[in-house]
Amino acid sequence: MTENPKPVLSEDPNAGLAAPIMDLMAAGVIAVIALWMLAESLRLSVPGAITTAPGLLPFITSASLLIMAVILGANALARRRVADAKSDRIELPADFRRTLFLGAILVVYLLGLQFLPVEAAITIASVRFVIGAFEVTTLVVLTAILRFYWQAALWACFAVTFGWLAFLSVVFRTVFQVPLP
């Protein structure tokens, strides 16, 4: 007789059991991180007593994380034994490829911000406006993202990006004096 599953209140409804193979993969990655941090915390120097060693809490944290990873992995293995092939496969969101593409664009965006050597200034009505890598890269990348995901006309994507960028640039660079990349 199956016990009637009583829903448990959770702040994050998505959190919970994944497919056993996915939990096993996650346990593996977490165990590697824990082992790495465990080894690194042992390598840290101990200037005073062992009780005040800089690596003490990182060591305890890594060790307990390793135990948690082992429990997660062991439970995933136990679930794999009874799970059928259909419920034990990697589940990816339906739009995963579109997300990967977005991730790639974001990497390109940050590379542009980091390496594009742009620095110019224009003065309109005695107010100095700075144009840097942020303005140039954001204009190009945001227009591209809008064109791909919003699918509006290119001029509309460009106009929206330009207006938003001008607003952000003026508010942060000129009004709040916050430096931008």
């Binding site: 996650a26 948690m68 997660l72």
Partner: protein, 497 residues
């Protein structure tokens, strides 16, 4: 307190608070944009503001977006924020009956009442908690940090606390990077200068709660439906008076859940809704699920009272009660404001200013919400893809503005990828917040406590009664979590068979 009110009633702070409230309501009303996301983005952006202005703006946004989720929940059957799902269950059927305006009016007034319950209980409980907390020394502070992270893990991950604890522990490990506070030894820096000051937790929070949400929601296809006729938005005080006992019970539930780290507005709203349905009179019970005013009152009062509750441990113990409260704490830390038992001594007047700002924001939310319902409806016509794309440069600015370092922007992107992986592998991201924020506190106090216990003998250790009680709580949290987890696995195994 009067001084604080006079200070807050200055035109600048009133205007900033109103701006925050308006932005918060609009933000909360737009599906896919959560309160947590708004607060995380504001951490970096508040770096250019003075302390008072930053507080007024953030508390305004927090207040406004706590209500804003109800607008889309009632009108288009899509919860603007996750805590407005119970409101949606009751509000949308009412909207279909042509009573959408009435339902929203009731939600506004219930939110207003919920905030008052939260604020009053906050004011009443603060001196008591502070008096207790002032007796906490290093050992107790360390244990409190551990309790905060582990309870957050339990509450975030519901049926599977292990996953919540794992993400909390990963957050702690990330916070250990950089020079340690006692000996000045560089930990896990690998001679990379950008790591000497540690990993910016603001960048982690913006990445994990801002950019991850963009990565999750932007590629999804499909838009929001447009609402039907709303009808007149009336404040519905008469209906609220009819459900006063339910409102006060829900306010108390919201406040208590808010004070528990990790248990935020979502749990508050669902718990109050569930208890409300069980305790409803038979004639009222028949309406639940088909458009119950009492259901809206329970959910809205609870998720708004939750705000006062989550601010209580944040101010008194330095342990955030929820992810938005953690963002508030992070913004204050950037201004060298350390929250905890000595907050009244270190920052005289700050707590009173926070009370005053909460009250002002609450009153403004009531008026602004009534005025903004119809313009908000027009915003539903804006494509979600457009809105989410425009958030990307705000994430970049927020991460960069803290230390003017591009490395922080890369950390934010890395955190966004990890946050997305958490989503796929069904790990909760909220405990990471507690982990990165509380790890330095735990580390410093743990070693200080061990130094204090050194050579003092067993008698000294045995006399740490508060500490022992806290150790018992730590054990209780883990044992309860493990039992819950065992139950979940057993059920999953039986279902698989």
């Amino acid at each position: 307190m009067i001084d604080a009110f006079l200070h807050v009633l200055s035109p600048t702070l009133l205007l900033v608070s109103l701006g925050g409230v308006v932005l918060g309501i609009i933000w909360g009303a737009l599906p896919g944009l959560s309160t947590t996301m708004a607060m995380m983005l504001l951490i970096g952006l508040s770096s250019g503001l003075s302390l008072d202005v930053a507080l007024a703006f953030m508390l305004g946004v927090y207040n406004g977006s706590s209500f804003g989720g109800a607008v889309s929940a009632v009108l288009i059957n899509i919860p603007g924020t996750p805590d407005s799902i119970p409101t949606m269950l009751e509000g949308y059927p009412l909207a279909k009956q042509g009573k959408g305006g009435e339902a929203l009016g009731l939600a506004i007034t219930a939110s207003f009442l919920g905030n008052w319950v939260g604020i009053l209980l906050l004011v009443a409980c603060m001196p008591v908690i502070l008096a207790i907390a002032l007796n906490f020394k290093s050992w107790e502070m360390f244990l409190l940090a551990v309790i905060g992270i582990s309870i957050c893990g339990t509450m975030s991950s519901g049926s599977l606390p292990l996953k919540g604890w794992i993400t909390g522990w990963l957050g702690m490990l990330a916070a250990f990077v950089g020079y340690d506070a006692i000996h000045g030894v560089a930990r896990f820096t690998y001679d990379v200068p950008a790591l000497y000051d540690g990993i910016s937790y603001v960048a982690i929070l913006i990445g994990m709660f801002g950019l991850t949400e963009v990565m999750r929601s932007l590629p999804e296809q499909g838009g929001s439906p447009l609402p039907e006729k709303i009808g007149r938005t009336t404040p519905s005080i008469g209906i609220l008076l009819r459900y006063m006992p339910s409102a006060f019970r829900s306010g108390l539930i919201g406040m208590i859940t808010g004070a528990i780290p990790g248990a935020g507005a979502n749990i508050a709203a669902f718990l109050a809704y569930d208890i409300g349905r069980r305790r409803a009179k038979p004639e009222e019970k028949a309406k639940w699920g088909k458009g119950s005013y009492e259901g809206i009152v329970c959910a809205e009062v609870a998720n708004n009272a939750n705000m006062g509750g989550s601010i209580l441990p944040t101010l008194t113990l330095g342990i955030p009660g929820s992810a938005p409260a953690a963002a508030l704490m992070a913004a204050l830390q950037m201004k060298n404001v350390v929250l905890g038992p000595t907050v009244e001594v270190d920052q005289p007047g700050l707590v009173a200013v926070i009370y005053a700002l909460l009250i002002v924001a609450n009153i403004m939310t009531w008026f602004a919400a009534l005025a903004l319902i119809k313009p908000c409806v027009k915003l539903f016509m804006l494509p979600r893809e457009l809105l989410l794309t425009l958030i990307i440069p705000i994430c970049v600015i927020g991460a960069y503005a803290v230390r003017n370092e591009m490395s922080d922007v890369w950390v934010m992107l890395g955190a966004a990828f990890i946050g997305y992986a958490f989503h796929i592998f069904r790990f909760p991201p909220a405990p990471v917040v507690l982990g990165v924020i509380l790890a330095p506190l735990a580390d410093e106090n743990f070693r200080r406590a061990l130094l204090l216990f050194d050579n003092k003998g067993f008698d000294f250790f045995a006399q740490q009664y508060v500490g022992h009680a806290l150790v018992l709580i730590v054990f209780a949290v883990f044992i309860e979590g493990m039992l819950r987890e065992r139950r979940t696995r057993k059920i999953a195994a039986e279902v698989a068979r």
